[in-house]
Amino acid sequence: MSFSTFVTDKTGLQKLYEAIISKHETYAPVEKFGKYDYKKVSSLKECDPDSPIAMTMSVKPLFFPRASKIMKYEANSSGTTIMETDEDPLAGKRVVLGVKHCDARGLQVLDAVNKWDYIDSDFLKRRANTVIFSTRCDKADTHCFCTSLDYDLEKLDALDVAVVNGSDGKIYLQARTGKGDIFLKENSDQSTMYDVQNTMDDVRSTKYEEDMKKQYIAFTGSFRLKMDYKDVNEKMAKRFDSPAFEEASRNCVSCNTCAFICPTCHCFKISDEKIKDTGVRYKSYDSCNNVYFTLEAGGHNPRPAKFRRWRQRSMHKFVYYKERFGVNLCVGCGHCAISCPVNISIFDVVNHVANSPASS
């Protein structure tokens, strides 16, 4: 099944964005303190859908916020009553602009775990009600390695509409899902954009495809980091006892940043905040890099040492999740390396371990 592709130019895209923002609840990267985060916007001026990858937080918090209410209760002399929580502010129909492909892939990866075992209806509802507009990067950043992993950027259906810059200066809006297709058709402005299928003959259409291919090859050529994920999955599985984890994690300061900004990390903690008679139960981010993450009530901690926590993190990303859900839990966005105060990249750690001697 193929979906429609629209072609337009810069002004056309801007007009489309403006129209979307005025008609729909829209989120887009907004700059604050030199860092872009996805916020609700009311005009295009506030935001920048082409925000640089290195400066942009992941889109995960729009679906799995850093703290969300899961329950509200009241306790008084007549007992404890569970009250209705406030309406989920993220559950409505909405559009997200300027999402990076890797980020969107992160959401797709998270779908798997949220549909498994306990079905997280909140997360899935938010996903279902959201149309994601991606902006495909033209050039890789220092820490990017998305092309080395187990998904194809060109066919990625984690996002609904991909915005791709053609080498001819034109901008192509490719619907990747049915949802995106419908949304695009509903919102397209006939005066500034037109459907590629309708206007192109075979020759021109072939040229477009070739152009896209060329453009993609140029894009992949700009990557500094490359790995063979299949190889890595296998090698990692055999290196649980590798001393390389210790070496690779030696200058980690256990700051947890990597997990908090990761588009796929989904560990959380549950906490109650009670004042007077009313309490709220929150679900908030946590990180396996935190010493207390595995601290048991009895005082025993199975992962007290830093390298053990690093092992858990790397193995979860490249072995355990893959075993269970068939996908890597890493999307190669490089955010962890960018945010890390000592520039440790999961890429380096995994590569280091995978290339170390196998444990017996």
Binding site: A75, N76, S77, G79, T80, I275, K276, D277, G299
Partner: protein
């Protein structure tokens, strides 16, 4: 889950008139943890307390809130009611709805009722976090250590020993007696110092409960109140006190002459000596710094003349250890060196002496046989100028405080001078005359009238030599003119300063001292004899300048404190003390730094379970902790909590409003 009982008191009309008590009870009943709530006319009365006791049993309550008057009033009463019912008394919380609500919001009953309801809710919230606490009992070693054998130390030792508590009295010099033994006569009655002191000295020596360790110093003190361990270094005296009879043959024959400290260096003593004839113990010691035999291995005369063979040149310093329960510090005072007063020619002119030197001169057992003499030529002075406040009350050159005793002893000196040299005249330069004390003002008047001493109000600006006289130039502020007195002798009432060893001693004992070196009392008004460290007390001039009656009074006060401390076999203490959670303590030792009572020490514990590596954590000494909570608030790791006022308790209160 907690089961709280709430008891709201009417306090007759005191609360009920201004607070709607039944509403408060109804509000309380809405709280989840409250299983029982009731009001009563007088909660503190017997039937009221009986209600509490009954409810505890009937409703299986786990904590109690009494909403009544201030906890400072009846907390103890209600605690007792709790323990009578078999409940831990510290599970009680008092909501102060009288002083904090009904009495202060008499015009607005609704507001007062609302507030009372809130106060009850806060108390309930706090009580939920209350824990069972138990009174702390600390065993005590019933022995006191008195440091310093002056009149303060002697008095304290005697008073404590009379209560049949063993005392160890440590004196640095070879004999007890201290400064008072150096005095001739004492103001305001002019009775002979030696006559009233020596009987006490003898009492000390013969008292069955006093262990006198002369010629020794305390070098270490460990432990805490009731349980101190002291190390005392007994300096080698080179004389076997057991066999020595004190005949004096040795010091009479000793060829080495050394300035005599007892006489302020005016005359000489020998290298083997007893400080003064009435010394207790009256046994000589060898001054190792000056003895020819000990320095060069030659001489040995004293050993030859001693019939008992008591001289032992091989004697070594000895360390004595004592377990004690309390310490009285009575290290006395010294005289300030007037060197900074260059315009007086201190140090240049021989005929300028300080008052303690004058005291020795006029003393009948003194170096001059009781007659004042000019150090330069030995002539008897006819005109003597006394200058007060030399160093005292002088921020620029000396010290800021008033030395307190100089006004009186200078008046005494004027009288003594008149007694010894009838045709003499005393001129006294003064700033103020501070004669507050029983019979003191009369005494000063007596000095002025009886002896014709001339009191000149003003500072001396210069002293210079003219022939064999000293010209004292000063101002008489009362006539507003410069005056000049031709003096034979000038006596400076230099400031009274604490013993030079005080800072070192304070550090050793773990107590604080002020910028002058005086040891600090726990509270300037209400705890003037205690130090901040429990079980250490101060007597005499080690705390501040004071005269003999005050010193004796303070020493007796110390004795009373010590006896009080030792009244039972154990000391009972409130359990509101800090506790350390070792798990969270990171060993930064900031608590050790801020604790005003040195109640926190450190201990090493294994890093992990069964680990050989150690880490340091804080440890609270429950016996010493007074429960102020300073350590709790500064502990960043929240590893310390104060029983009765824990973080959860206070936060519960805050959020319950």
């Amino acid at each position: 889950m907690a089961r709280v009982g709430v008891f709201v008191c009417f306090c007759g009309a005191n609360i009920a008139d201004f607070v709607d008590v039944p509403t408060v009870v109804e509000e309380a009943k809405k709280i989840r943890e409250v299983k029982f709530a009731i009001d009563y006319k007088y909660m503190c009365s017997d039937p009221g307390q009986q209600m509490i006791r009954d409810a505890i049993v009937q409703h299986r309550l786990t904590s109690i809130v009494v909403a009544a008057c201030s906890p400072r009033m009846h907390e103890k009463t209600f605690r007792k009611a709790l323990s009578d019912a078999g409940m831990n008394p510290y599970l009680l919380e008092v909501a102060n709805i009288r002083e904090h609500s009904s009495w202060v919001h008499q015009k607005d009953k609704k507001a007062a009722t609302d507030k009372a309801g809130d106060l009850v809710r806060m108390a309930v919230a706090k009580s939920i976090a209350n824990e069972q606490l138990h009174e702390i009992s600390v065993p005590v070693t019933k022995r006191a250590l008195v440091i310093g054998g002056g009149i303060a130390g002697i008095q304290a030792a005697l008073d404590i020993a009379d209560a049949r508590i063993p005392v160890t009295l440590v004196e640095r010099s070879p004999s007890i007696g201290g400064r008072m033994a150096q005095l001739d006569e004492t103001f305001p009655t002019l009775d002979c110092s030696q006559c009233i002191l020596t009987p006490k000295m003898v009492d000390v020596a013969s008292h069955p409960y006093i262990e006198l360790i002369p010629y020794s110093e305390v070098i270490e003190l460990d432990g805490f109140v009731g349980n101190y361990k002291a190390k005392i270094r007994k300096k080698a005296s080179y004389v076997n006190f057991k066999s020595c009879t004190g005949c004096g043959a040795c010091w009479q024959k000793c060829p080495v002459k050394v300035p005599n400290e007892y006489n302020m260096g005016i005359d000489k003593r020998k290298a083997i000596y007893t400080p003064f004839p009435q010394a207790v113990p009256n046994k000589p010691v060898i001054d190792a710094e000056h003895c020819t035999y000990l320095l060069k291995g030659k001489c040995g005369i004293c050993a030859k003349v001693c019939e008992k063979g008591s001289i032992d040149y091989t004697m070594q310093d000895e360390i004595i250890e004592r377990e004690i329960g309390a310490v009285v510090v009575a290290t006395g005072y010294g005289m300030w060196d007037a060197k900074p007063y260059e315009e007086y020619g201190v140090g240049r002119y021989k005929d300028i002496i300080n008052s303690l030197e004058f005291e020795r001169m006029v003393s009948s057992n003194g170096p001059t046989g009781g007659v004042p003499m000019r150090p330069s030529d030995g002539k008897i002075p006819k005109t003597v100028v006394f200058i007060k406040c030399v160093g005292s009350r002088d921020k620029a050159k000396g010290i800021e405080f008033c030395s307190k005793i100089c006004c009186m002893y200078t008046a005494k000196h004027a009288i003594l001078l008149h007694h010894k040299v009838h045709d003499s005249r005393a001129y006294i330069f003064y700033m103020d005359i501070r004669a507050a004390g029983k019979g003191y003002e009369e005494f000063v008047n007596r000095a002025q009238v009886e002896t014709g001493a001339v009191y000149l109000r003003g500072r001396v600006s210069k002293i210079y030599q003219k022939g064999d006289k000293l010209m004292v130039r000063g101002e008489d502020a009362q006539i507003g003119q410069e005056v000049e007195v031709e003096a034979d002798l000038v006596v400076l009432a230099t400031a009274v300063i604490p013993d030079k060893g005080n800072p070192a001693l304070a550090r050793l004992l773990g107590i604080s001292y002020d910028k002058y070196g005086y040891l600090s009392e726990a509270h300037p008004k209400l705890r003037p004899v205690e130090t901040a460290k429990a079980g250490i007390f101060l007597a005499g001039c080690t705390q501040a300048p004071k005269d003999i009656p005050e010193t004796v009074a303070q020493a007796s006060a110390c004795a009373a404190k010590v006896c009080g401390l030792f009244a039972g076999d154990t000391m009972k203490k409130d359990p509101m003390v800090s506790t350390v959670s070792r798990e969270f303590c990171s060993g930064c030792q900031n608590c050790v730094k801020v604790c005003p009572y040195q109640a926190i020490v450190t201990e090493d514990i294994p890093l992990g379970h069964g680990s050989k590596e150690m880490r340091t954590v804080a440890k609270i000494n429950e016996g010493v902790c007074q429960g102020c909570g300073s350590c709790v608030a500064i502990c960043r790791s929240m590893a310390i909590n104060l029983a009765g006022f824990t973080d959860p308790q206070i936060i519960n209160e805050i959020v319950a409003i």
